[in-house]
Symmetry: D2
Subunit: 364 residues, 4 copies
């Protein structure tokens, strides 16, 4: 099978997530990056493209106009720009019939999200959202366990995503746009909160009905939230919580998920991504590893640690399969719905916090 | 030094916490149990006392009347009855000038708490409350680290206490009174929530100003809360959370505390009680053990695991020292104030939950 | 039941293991310490006894002569002196018909060990050796699992006991006699190696047939071994290893045991004494806790950490039961045989190392 | 920079390590696989090459003859065949001036190893050996810490590599050749023992002077060792041990390394590859992560788990840099010397074990 020809918007030299997408796309050989509008700065765009040996465009509009006409034009595009720059290229490429692989969260504003949604619904091309963590094998196994009833009825869900890198004043390029309301749309709840939200939904198969949020800006002068404590209520009667922070000093990337049901509980933590603890109501807890994972989303035998990049690459491989016509992975690859759900989460959290934690319906 | 003569109210055969108190009192040789009103069932009281080789009383009133007159009468009494039976004996012994060592929470109702408070304030005898966890060495070290500013300004506090033993219908003696509103006063928030609350206060030195609570009764027919998610706001601007549950299947006794400051963070978990992780803002995390603990609250060299009973015994040893006239441990042994703070926590949590999570002031 | 009257030889103020024995004897209320020859220094002996409120003897001979004649004389004696001073008091008390509870290793020399053995065999009193670790609940469960065949045929056994406290020159009282060949008899292999040896035997039910040892004295000028690497061969065809060190910097008290069979494996580590990992050949590993331990050797519910002192107290409680006539615990409480096995281990290890690691039969 | 054109010998469909090499070569974009002699079965070779979209050769000799003559011929070749088939292609490509990237161990016999050595020394091309674990960031940091004296003088080294996948009869393709003396040359000591040996040498910078080995074949009928316990003596006076097993049930891939010096100790375990515990003689242990690693051998921020494949890719990236003329990584990329050292280890271990564990010099 020939690699799928991939373009990229954003991800010029110095960018973080663009480089990650390129490794993930390359890892299993299903994609070949051939073109890019890698930076809004034309010189940097050109230099970055030259480094990568790909066609360079000064802006995404030109790329969206030009590529469809080429015999060797891109079949899919990865959008790895700051949040406020997702919508315009996503709409342009969807209209051009090119599949879109977009970084999360979906957009910086509800309006941008709606634009993407309308374009996606009107397009014959597909829209994917790279909530990469849910593609880790043990979380796919977690989802399967919940789905088959291994936990009984779910009662409690707790997702945490704790980082410390924004605990002080920061002048890094990453910190700059992520703490700018205009470009990010939200702070920690958008950047990492949507990951926690999506993961909880992915594993439990349930969307909370309402939430109560307390957003904080702990660092003086910060214009977006950098810590959020959110209580969740599910229609089923289950309760839950999301705690995200970017001022949790000492935490490098502390994502975790715990789910408690009437029959058993699951616990997973990113620092040990290949362990899933299944604790039955009675009897000893079990340490599940990839040897027990039925998704077979890996490249190496159990005990040969895979992690962040491989999870990201699992998404890209599934996306390649879908683009090539295999519908099987569709149920596990996040797309427009996951994006809209994340936007509803952000909106509800901001609304609740603005009303001093009043319970607010989550309306996707 | 002669052992202090100790009496006990409650703790007859089959009771849980009474046996614990007896081991804790005995471990370091500072107390000798000599008398007891061990059960409201006179036959069981007498049989239990005979097993222990101590003087038996049919009820605590008689013990409170009789013992002070004996030359070898008790100097202190441990009250290990269900919550609603703390106040009457506490008041009786305090009035009799006998030191009271009372299990937590302080009482089942605010009125009972007030009665204890008045009696304690009027008495020349002391009142102690056995929040045992705060006497574990690494938590004493945690408190010292916070007090000396090692964490900088505190921003985030998270205390959890998760158990699974009440996840189903239960007919154990322990479960019975602990889920009865009349005898327990509250469910999980009283039984284990007050431990989490006290620990957070003990380590940080701060009492939250207000809270927002969502209490649940997950098991059908249960009349008290068995899960609670509580958001905290401190006067300093810090935020916090308490999550307690007794339906968290697979969790045996999952108490933990995390505190994040501007300069460093602390993490402690009961399953590994002798490790305290100190994570500076920059640089590697440090695994503190008793080798680093300056409280020296232990009997064995580092690496020889001490735990629950030794923590409890640390309290009893400090109480003995105080009774013998050493004021030094007073600042770290929980007493009336801790009890009233716990009652204020329960009341605020219930009030907030009744008002759908509205923020409620905590007024001790 | 009345407490058993206990005497003690050694354990004066400043001693380490004597204080441990006293706590262990006291914890469950089965013993009352009433007499002691606590130090070879008469003044220190008397002062220590006064502190404890017990009868004091200037030497153990006098105590062994006097106590049997008293109506309230001791029924058992704990010997907690340095190794070379085990034999004389053990023989004296065994001849006097008083049960002996002796610290490990059995003796400093084979000759002393034989003297104890002869006295024990001739006495109506019992001899116990406090290999305390094997009384921890999860190791009792480990033994039960092996005995019932849960591991299949055992293939591999690995015991480690790593400490760092003798990594440098040390002038502590503890270090002094433990590194003196005359008083200790052996270095790390005696002090901690016999624990590892006994634990492996206790759990597997097998004694190695031969061993090959490499003993080292890493600290310049040290007259005993402070590191030893020992390979084991069992008659069954199983292989094993013991690694002990007292120069392993950073290790506080790193005792661990791993056993691999044809059907499953067990792993246990002292720093988390209440977890036993059972890994079947196929299927997920299981985290066993006291909730799964059938020995019920504990005082608190699972999740309330017990440790070193409670394990020691388990031994004392079993010893009390045996003294009172219950033969049930006999199979799990170490006695003369364990002591002789440990002496055979020391002798074989020293002989093998002296012959550059030649394989040497272990002959108890 | 253009990708380096890579060929491959072995690694046809169904092979394990060939696929790993391809991912590692691809991950950072420094190599493009263009040709292969992927199987000794011509049909399978052709089909596998077609799947990969590369030039196919029926045998490696033809590839070694043909490629050098092409303008777009391969610049380097990865040899991923069973051990006995390393030497012939390695010699052929080295003679053809093509860089060789060879899987470990170097060869199945000392004679084959010599052939490779001679060809490597005579060739202008380079020879690399993929001991992948030493390219993990925290092990590079471990090496740096030892080199700068952070541990003081090294006293103790312990490397373990425990697997359970050969605990029973196995008829997998992988198991078949790895347990065949003719094709593998050795059992566990070759397959995983050389990894442990190389890692210990890589981190400590020292090669043991002599060793004493006890090799076992635990599974009835097995013709190679599946368990080995090896004691090490260093010229410096340090002692060490290697324990490898492929019958350690429940162990997926348990590689670990512990090094104890006079000033500090290091501990690293593959299941948590991104943590390195540094324990000073005094003071708390430190949890080093990639935030502290000065090698910067990674693609993602700390806390985004990288693992086995990324370590392998680190090697490939360094190899690419070396091929392109950067000598810097030469000191950390294993080559001929590491291969010969591993062969010396195998030979000494087999010789010692054949002489019942006699100490044998290691002569590379």
């Amino acid at each position: 099978m020939k690699p799928i020809r991939l373009g990229m918007v954003g991800g010029g030299s110095g960018a973080f997530i663009g480089a990650i997408h390129r490794i993930a796309a390359r890892m299993d050989g299903h994609f070949a990056l051939v073109a890019g509008a890698l930076s809004s700065d034309p010189a940097r765009a050109a230099a970055s493209a030259a480094d990568l040996g790909i066609r360079s465009y000064g802006d995404f509009e030109e790329m969206a106009r030009t590529e469809p006409a080429r015999a060797d034009g891109i079949q899919a595009v990865a959008i790895v720009t700051p949040n406020h720059l997702h919508a315009a290229p996503a709409v342009a490429f969807l209209r051009a019939g090119i599949h879109v692989i977009c970084d999360k969260p979906l957009a910086a504003t509800p309006q941008q999200a709606r634009q993407i949604a309308e374009a996606a619904q009107a397009s014959g091309a597909r829209f994917f959202l790279t909530h990469n963590y849910c593609a880790l094998p043990m979380l796919r196994e977690a989802r399967a366990l919940v789905a088959e009833g291994a936990l009984g009825d779910i009662r409690l869900v707790q997702a945490e995503y704790l980082q410390g890198w924004l605990a002080g004043e920061s002048d890094s390029k990453q910190a700059e746009w992520r703490t700018d309301p205009a470009r990010a749309g939200a702070g920690a709840i958008g950047d990492i909160g949507t990951h926690a939200w999506q993961l909880a939904e992915f594993v439990t198969g349930q969307v909370p009905q309402s939430l109560s949020a307390d957003l904080s800006s702990m660092v003086p002068g910060r214009a977006v939230d950098d810590d959020a404590r959110i209580a969740l209520r599910y229609g089923s009667g289950a309760k839950g919580g999301i705690w995200v922070s970017q001022v949790a000093v000492g935490q490098e990337n502390g994502l975790s998920l715990r789910v408690f049901g009437t029959k058993a509980a699951l616990e997973w933590r990113l620092p040990e991504p290949e362990r899933l603890i299944l604790s039955p109501k009675d009897g000893p807890a079990r340490i599940l590893t990839r040897a027990q994972d039925r998704s077979a989303s890996f490249r190496t035998p159990p005990g040969h640690p895979e992690g962040y990049l491989e999870g990201f690459a699992n998404l890209y491989s599934d996306i390649a399969a879908i683009i090539r016509g295999d519908a099987t992975p569709l149920e596990r690859v996040p797309g427009l719905e996951a994006g809209l759900s994340g936007m509803a989460f952000i909106a509800a959290a901001q609304a609740s916090s603005a009303r001093d934690g009043a319970w607010v319906e989550v309306s996707p």
